[in-house]
Symmetry: C2
Subunit: 133 residues, 2 copies
């Protein structure tokens, strides 16, 4: 990792957490926040190099190119970081218009109404059709 930082000062300028991770927010051009995931240095490098979002899957402990199964890739238009350099904001074009594995445009579809979380966005595509082989 130190090698990557040395070669890429813009990577070293970011504040990676104790696990070498940084949170990444994906936003489409219409302003919708569609996803939140984590990146390590390598995933950010591959994102920048390839132009499509590559995250680090903490559950699977491996690089995860968004859309690798669903086809719902995220073309990256720009990358920002915040004043502390410890969060990323990706401006993306969401291929297929669906970011969520539930078939919704955005993963942020559960809204707090009183004391209940209510699904406030429609399912655009049946997940079984998204992940069908």
């Amino acid at each position: 990792m130190a090698d990557l930082d040395h070669a890429q000062p813009w990577l070293a300028a970011l504040k990676w957490d104790a696990d070498g991770m940084i949170p990444a927010i994906a936003q489409t051009a219409d302003g919708a926040v569609v996803m939140f995931a984590w990146m390590n240095r390598q995933s950010l490098m591959e994102t920048v190099k390839g132009g499509y979002a590559v995250y680090w899957s903490r559950s699977r402990q491996r690089l995860w190119k968004k859309g690798e199964e669903s086809g719902h890739e995220q073309k990256v238009l720009s990358i920002r970081t915040d004043c502390d350099g410890d969060v990323l904001l990706l401006a993306i074009e969401q291929i297929g218009g669906i970011a969520c594995h539930t078939g919704r445009k955005s993963c942020f579809f559960n809204e707090l109404h009183g004391e209940h979380w209510v699904a406030a966005e429609p399912v655009l595509k049946n997940p079984e059709d998204i992940y069908a082989k």
Copy 2:
């Protein structure tokens, strides 16, 4: 904490990390993602009860009502969580139009241009004037 969960099932429905935290993204009505911070159960409770964003400051290890020093409070219009229930998205009205301690509208002002992070948003107010007593 278990007491809070018991009294508030909607809190228990969220996935808090090992430190009892959840990431929170603040977004204004025009779509701008202006801030990212962390909440614990108590800060989310106070946010919901009071209608203004209260975060947990990991550096100061205490509840932090956004704007308590700057006056730049965040009126919360709605709260969403994602498909995993482990991230929050707050729709807010940003009092003063400035979320960042640098005097910018958004904390996400550094954009990656080639191999350099470039400040891509103007300073709207001198920080010394924001935090002057």
